[in-house]
Subunit: 278 residues, 2 copies
């Protein structure tokens, strides 16, 4: 391969890394790709790390050892994360979002890939130490969030269905009592979609009673996998006692009232705030 | 702002661009962000374009005029695109994917964010000239593909539901006869989720009779929007005459037979192949 100018190599490197967050790249792979020495790639990576940290666009983790290499993590810094959360809090507090029955209209935000990418990065940072093998959600509105989170971890998504589908092959199903209408509902997951003994991060858009999250936890156990975390975008302040505990939420919905058009929503304190930030 | 080294600026630039494909950035915005002259940013962009094109990682489009600027498009080149398609063709041809009733198991591919990102880029390139304002799909399996495609265009996703949901607010619903079981089904889309007179690109994972795609086309018209394209991952060769025409498919499924474990799948000829490649 023809020798490549440093500038071009740097541009190629950062593009490859930002397309594959969370993936382990041995330096030798880049050395081969760019036709250069490993030590040169090593210097390039130092420059990239410095620039990324200067602009707070992420960081590069070094994994030592024989199977070592580097991983790119696109975490927002504390200031950016607060900006994203404040922007979302403002959007979610718009009175016209209140739907009959005191539901909150969220689809425009949940189906916006750019916003979800940012939320996915926040989720990924919060659950980084939980090292999930899969990000799981239940159809439908949580899927873009699950995709965005899984993309940062470079892992697949598991979408749990609300009914058994022939296209999923053999499934594991559970019944549960839904929190809102107290009816028996079903959840179904394809057996092929998840390897036994794997680590599962559950994400969803909204939690009220916590019955859905609880059912996802039960279903995960049923297929022989382990739940390493539960994250939701919005949790209601009431009921305080949810059926699922140990979850992380980005926002608390304290009040929503159709008649007065009042929404009181606040950014939730990060549960793992005491843990060291990456 | 302190003056930033060129290397750092380049790294920052390419990271921002690759996080926001399809988005128009005025050069003045970068000049301000990096505290440098517009002419300097202009030179940086030239370097980035050159490097991207060298490595076939995408291209930079210049939009002239008062509201001008640059847009980054992460298109794979022809060779990469063929590699992606060949890899997918091989995966989809694995005999163990055949499910009872001659269905094809696709969830592991459809829920893999990295694979879908690549397919989304291929779709975006093929539909580039159609300039969609939204990417629409019907729940559930097409959602990651829709997200990936929409991300390249920097537009929102519209997820059509199979039943009316209170959390979508007022909806527009249609009934249609599903192709496979000849039953009357419903499709529902939130009126808020799509602006009138907008341009809609429909994507889905699979097309057999084309009844689902046809229903999505009808629903789009019903809400006063325009369908600018229909793209699917796999279409069956039979029936040749689909209820929806003018669609683009990545693969033809010519044969699938549970008993013999036989799958015959081929990469489809690009419909717009005669058009000039970007």
């Amino acid at each position: 391969m023809v020798k490549i100018r440093r500038t071009n190599r740097l541009i190629g490197l950062i593009k490859i890394l930002s397309d594959h967050p969370g993936r382990l790249f041995p330096l030798s792979q880049f050395a081969e790709y760019f036709g250069t020495a490993k030590s040169t790639v090593s210097e390039d990576i130092l420059s990239i790390r410095e620039a990324l940290e200067d602009f707070k666009l992420g960081t590069i983790e070094t994994v030592t050892g024989a199977a070592g290499g580097i991983k790119f993590w696109p975490f927002p810094n504390e200031i950016q994360e607060n900006q994203v959360l404040q922007d979302l809090a403002q959007r979610f507090s718009e009175a016209e979002r209140i739907l009959p029955g005191n539901y909150l209209y969220m689809s425009d935000v949940l189906y916006n890939p750019q916003l979800m990418r940012q939320v996915g990065e926040i989720f990924a940072r919060r659950f980084l130490n939980d090292k999930p093998d899969y990000v799981m959600t239940v159809e439908t509105k949580g899927i873009p969030l699950a995709i965005a989170t899984a993309q940062v971890f470079d892992v697949p998504v598991v979408v749990v269905r609300r009914e058994t589908r022939v296209t999923e092959g053999p499934t594991v199903n559970i019944n549960y009592v839904s929190g809102s209408n107290r009816r028996i509902s079903t959840m179904s997951v394809g057996k092929r979609s998840i390897a036994p003994n794997s680590r599962v991060l559950i994400v969803d858009d909204f939690m009220k009673a916590g019955a859905t999250a609880k059912a996802l936890v039960d279903l995960t156990k049923e297929i022989g996998a382990e739940v390493v975390g539960v994250g939701v975008v919005i949790a209601t302040a009431e009921p305080q006692k949810k059926l699922c505990d140990g979850y992380e939420t980005l926002f608390w919905l304290n009040e929503i009232e159709e008649e007065s058009g009042k929404i009181v929503l606040e950014i939730a304190q990060e549960k793992s705030k005491s843990k060291k930030r990456k």
